[in-house]
């Protein structure tokens, strides 16, 4: 820049002046753009109200509550075993993962632990529900950018995982399989071999998606360098899961806390990405799906013999106390703060859902972006409406 001729400098100044003049002449009035509550780009019923200046967002505010079902109030009028039926439906793509922290919290209060076999099977089903969840994200990602093929592939391969979950739990979508003290049933015969075959298919699915999407130039140019969230902002907002790890924060509750699950028996890598942009978030999720396949494959070899249910009273009364249990769910850190008064049902359950925090950063993250980038940023933040609104 130093050895510019005077002529070049003058040219530069002239072009800047022309730009400024153009901006003044073409100054646009502010416009309010309403996306939702039912819009293909919002995965359900999130409504986003943006104020635009030309093509740029100056202010954006999500409007939630279109899916508010009042879980926290309803848990107060259910018994402990009935609560799992409800909380299944919070994050409806990875239902089994929702039950686990609640059951663990109840077990913590009762001071019991599931038998080792149940713990390993729980972890396998947990990871399968993560795969079922994130594979749909990977397919849906293309749709947000105009590529329709990946979603068909995702739905095809997701069916294999759902079949596995169904054959083990009886529920294709909402298993309601976890019980206080263990699991409802043991695994069916032949399930382990079948799961191995499906995991091979899922790895292929990840490869296909990587080829189709992540190497695609359009995809890269629409996600790289867009929607950057720095690590300290991410922590302030309480982001979790892949959104936090994509900002370079190495935090994964599967590895970072002692919990009565079998993640410590598996060898897996917690992927992080230094960029913090939309691409990083998508990429981390892709790697996590592969890691989940790896965890499942390793745990299939390590299922110990024994019962799947420990001894619990027939009518479960949870002793008085308070417990907080959080796990690394497909969308991020999901936790239950359970207060019991020694009754059949909980006194109060505070449900900490990952998407609620993940989406609370939207007003910050959308400031100054262009309208088409709203879609990619929202898609890469990845939320599920039931998980935001509860």
């Amino acid at each position: 820049m130093t050895d510019l001729s005077d002529r070049q400098k003058l040219g530069y100044i002239a072009s800047q002046a022309a730009d400024a003049r153009l901006n003044v002449e073409l100054e646009t009035e502010g416009m309010t753009l309403n996306i939702g509550p039912q819009h293909p780009a919002t995965h359900g019923t999130l409504r986003i109200i943006c104020r635009l200046d030309g093509e740029q967002v100056v202010w954006a505010e999500p409007s939630c509550g279109y899916m508010h079902r009042g879980y926290e109030k309803l848990t107060e009028v259910r018994t402990f075993p009935q609560v799992t039926t409800l909380v299944n439906r919070i994050d409806w793509l990875g239902s089994f993962a929702n039950e686990v922290p609640f059951i663990l919290a109840a077990e913590k209060l009762m001071e019991i632990e599931a038998p080792p076999r149940a713990q390993v099977i729980r972890t396998i089903l947990f990871e399968l529900s993560r795969i079922a969840n994130v594979s749909l994200f990977l397919g849906d990602l293309g749709v947000q950018m105009g590529a329709i093929t990946p979603v068909f592939i995702a739905f095809r391969d997701r069916e294999y995982v759902l079949n596995l979950i169904e054959s083990a739990t009886g529920g294709r979508f909402h298993p309601n399989f976890d019980r206080i003290g263990g699991l409802k049933d043991d695994l069916p015969a032949g399930w382990i071999d079948e799961t191995r075959q499906v995991m091979v298919k899922l790895r292929e699915f990840c490869d296909i998606i990587e080829d189709l999407l992540f190497g695609n130039e359009i995809f890269q140019s629409r996600t790289r360098g867009i929607g950057i969230i720095p690590a300290d902002i991410a922590k302030d907002y309480g982001l979790s899961g892949a959104n936090l790890r994509a900002s370079g924060v190495d935090y994964d509750l599967r590895r970072d806390q002692e919990i009565a699950m079998a993640w410590d028996k598996a060898d897996f890598k917690v992927w992080t990405h230094p960029d913090g942009d939309s691409f990083a978030r998508c990429w981390v999720r892709l790697q996590e799906t592969r890691e989940s396949c790896k965890i499942v494959e390793q745990l299939l070899d390590q299922i110990p013999a024994g019962p799947v249910m420990t001894k619990v009273p027939r009518i479960i009364k949870v002793p008085e106390g308070e417990a907080w249990v959080a796990t690394e769910n497909p969308l991020g850190v999901m936790g239950y703060y359970v207060v019991s008064k020694g009754d059949l049902g909980p006194f109060r359950v505070k449900i900490r859902t990952p998407s609620f925090n993940n989406i609370s950063i939207v007003p910050w993250a959308l400031k100054g972006v262009y309208v088409p980038d709203i879609i990619t940023i929202l898609a890469s933040l990845y939320f599920i409406l039931g998980d935001i609104d509860r």
Binding site: Q38, K73, W92, F155, R156, E159
Partner: protein
């Protein structure tokens, strides 16, 4: 259209119209909650492939849709939007309510923010029970809706009446005669669709 204005339609014309209507249904997907994913699996996945039934998903707007599939929990905050969507759709229009939440509130029957059934807002033709129903159940619901359309008295629809089946019209008209089944094709569906009540997949009464 003088015939229609009189409230009469030649039976063969009705049949032709009904068949063509029932196999070119544009469906607007009003996916709200968990059921939306199962609806997506039914409509968008290669395994279930709804297009083989003559149903076309993903219209550009509700104004181009023939029926709406309301799937998932309708909350009180969402209810006005559902109502408005329904009013935007052109006649003749039909509605499928998918899942327990849309049918009656489902697991949230005692919640303070959930509408106890989308039928409080819009008229429903087919109820698909389940939480969530499998995609196959939704496909059956669509087949039943097609039979219902094939069995509809279009003249009554054009007069602005609610759903009236041909059998109902026939038996009214020929009170002395025993109403003959209109078509051998729909004989199996006759039990369900001979009345003008909504259909429930898998049977059962609508309370």
């Amino acid at each position: 259209m003088g015939l229609v204005a009189n409230g009469r339609m030649p039976a063969s014309l009705t049949k032709l119209f009904n068949i063509s209507r029932s196999y070119s249904l544009w469906v607007y997907q009003w996916g709200l909650a968990c059921c939306a994913i199962e609806m997506g699996a039914a409509f968008g996945s290669p395994r279930y492939d709804v297009m083989r039934l003559g149903v076309i998903p993903l219209p550009a707007s509700p104004r181009q849709a023939d029926f709406v599939c309301v799937s998932g929990t309708v909350t009180d905050k969402m209810a006005p939007a559902v109502k408005r969507l329904w009013e935007q759709m052109p006649e003749p229009k039909y509605a499928i309510s998918m899942g327990s939440c849309a049918n009656c509130g489902g697991p949230y029957w005692d919640s303070y923010s959930v509408t106890k059934g989308v039928d409080q807002i819009i008229p429903i033709d087919v109820y698909v029970p389940g939480c969530p129903p499998r995609p196959e159940a939704l496909l059956e619901g669509i087949v039943l809706l097609q039979q219902r359309i094939k069995n509809e008295d279009m003249a009554a629809k054009w007069r602005g009446e609610d759903y009236t089946s041909l059998q109902a019209t026939n038996s009214e008209r020929n009170a002395a005669k025993v109403a003959a089944s209109f078509d051998a094709d729909v004989e199996s569906a006759e039990q369900q669709s001979s009345s003008s009540d909504p259909i429930v997949v898998g049977g059962g009464p609508v309370e």
